[in-house]
Amino acid sequence: MEALFDASVQEVSRLLGLTDAEKSVLEDADAAASELVTSEFESYVQRKYNDQVPVILRRHNLMGVPIASKYGGRGARQLVQALFMERMGQVGMGVVTFADVHQCLGSLVIQDWGNEEQRSRYLPRAATGDVVLAYGLTEPEAGSDPGSLKTTFVRDGSSYRLTGSKYLISNGSVATNMIVFAYPAEGGKGPSAFVVDTKQKGFEVDMRLEEKVGLFTSDTSLLSLTDLAVPKEDLLGVEGKGFSVAYSALLNGRIGIGSGCVGVMEDCLNQVRERATSRVQHGKPIGKHQLIQKQVAFIESSLESCRWLVYRAALKKDEYEKDISNLALRGEADRLSAVAKYMSSRSAFESADRALQIFGGFGYSIMSPVAKHFLDTRVARIYEGTDEIMELKIASSVLGREFEAYR
């Protein structure tokens, strides 16, 4: 195993215990990550979606990491899912984004909110990779405020018909199915969640967003839904309760992004260790210059502090999974996932910036291993809850619900 990841796995195993099956998932993650390095680099410098990510994850039986074993997945609890995402993060946030959306925002949502028929229909195929999932919440006019969604549905006999736009959707043009949130056209109730078939008439990819600041290897799309027929069997959860579905997905997803950012910091540390000990300037390795050591110390300290923040959030989510009627536990899991995502994404961005500085001019090229992290982690401070939304959530969790600033 890669050394820093191996150290994480060993320590978690020693302190918290990991089963042989869980260790096997993580060994597979390590093998897949090693295999992903070259295609991820090739795609990154060409600024294109890395279509090898689902292929390689599938080859290592990693498409359904959190899906219950009875549906063909690996049945990983949140802590193991976090470790899996940590290793993917070393390769890059493009891989993390694909896996987080397919698994945490897609598969887990169907597992948590779907009925038995829906689970049996979707999860085995999501575990093999025959189904690839996307999550359609964000719209051109609804980012941090999902209450502003403009996508609507009407009932049409035994179906629903959905109309609207979804924007900045990761996996949007490569997914076979997407969780879509829409309000009833007649108004009244809250939004509902649907599992949409992207091959259906009325679903169109308007644009693949390729002119992004970073995250080139992840698919990001603008999608149109025009009178799109969705069978009533694909309503997810209770009609009008879509926000519950959406928020539970984001809780999973935020731990996933936080874990990926821990992996980014690990890779930054690996890269700067190599660079600082081998690059010679002024007659000695640059690592012997104290101002370089200051940057290394920051990255190492950020990594160590965020790692356990993420594990703690994952453990709290696992605790909640065993007692899902306990709202206090859910609130704690929600708070800790926000703290973990907030700190990890900011720290990863700052670490990548400092790593780039150590690489000097070469770091300013997307061929360098750290520029990719610098560009990619910027979005981790925006998607699945901006820094600001995380701050508001964290503050109100301390001050009380009556202080929720977005109410």
């Binding site: 390095v37 070259t38 680099f41 410098v45 060409q46 660079r275």
Partner: protein, 149 residues
């Protein structure tokens, strides 16, 4: 930046002919992939320009390869130095043979890379280098087996 690679290949040929070919610069010259302007300097050394491609990034390196130590009929060492496109590399490699028809060739290589290519980092370069080295040894294996027929 340092890189270590190792592996083994099974060659369907007698060990004496494997050893003789692996220490013969004229033979090695025929197995270099993407090489141009190849000059065999003597029985144990050669010069060539090789194209190294890492994804869309390609560079040309002028290399010198020499057999530096031999312990017939099983062991030998090779040294490669290369420079070009802002990069420099020094490779020390060795192999050890065992058995015969098939002959097992265990090999290892330590590379020290500086300049532009070093900036790509060993995580990435190791992936590409492993693939390239595997191709090189596959080519050598095939060429030896052809000669042995």
């Amino acid at each position: 930046m340092q890189l270590h690679l190792d592996g083994s290949n099974s060659i369907m040929a007698p060990s004496e002919s494997v050893y003789s070919l692996l220490t013969d610069a004229a033979f090695l010259a025929t197995t270099l992939p993407d090489a141009e302007d190849v000059h065999v300097l003597d029985k144990t050394s050669l010069e060539a320009t090789i194209k190294v491609r890492v994804a869309v990034v390609s560079s040309k390196l002028r290399i010198k390869m020499a057999v530096t130590a031999t312990q017939p009929p099983t062991n030998a060492s090779l040294a490669v130095t290369g420079t070009g496109s802002g990069s420099n590399m020094q490779i020390s490699s060795s192999f050890e043979l065992s058995g015969s028809s098939p002959t097992t060739m265990k090999w290892m290589a330590d590379a020290d890379i500086t300049g532009v290519m070093a900036g790509l980092g060993s995580t990435l370069l190791k992936g590409f280098a492993s693939k390239k080295v595997a191709e090189i040894f596959e080519g050598i294996t095939k060429a030896i087996e052809e000669r042995a027929k």
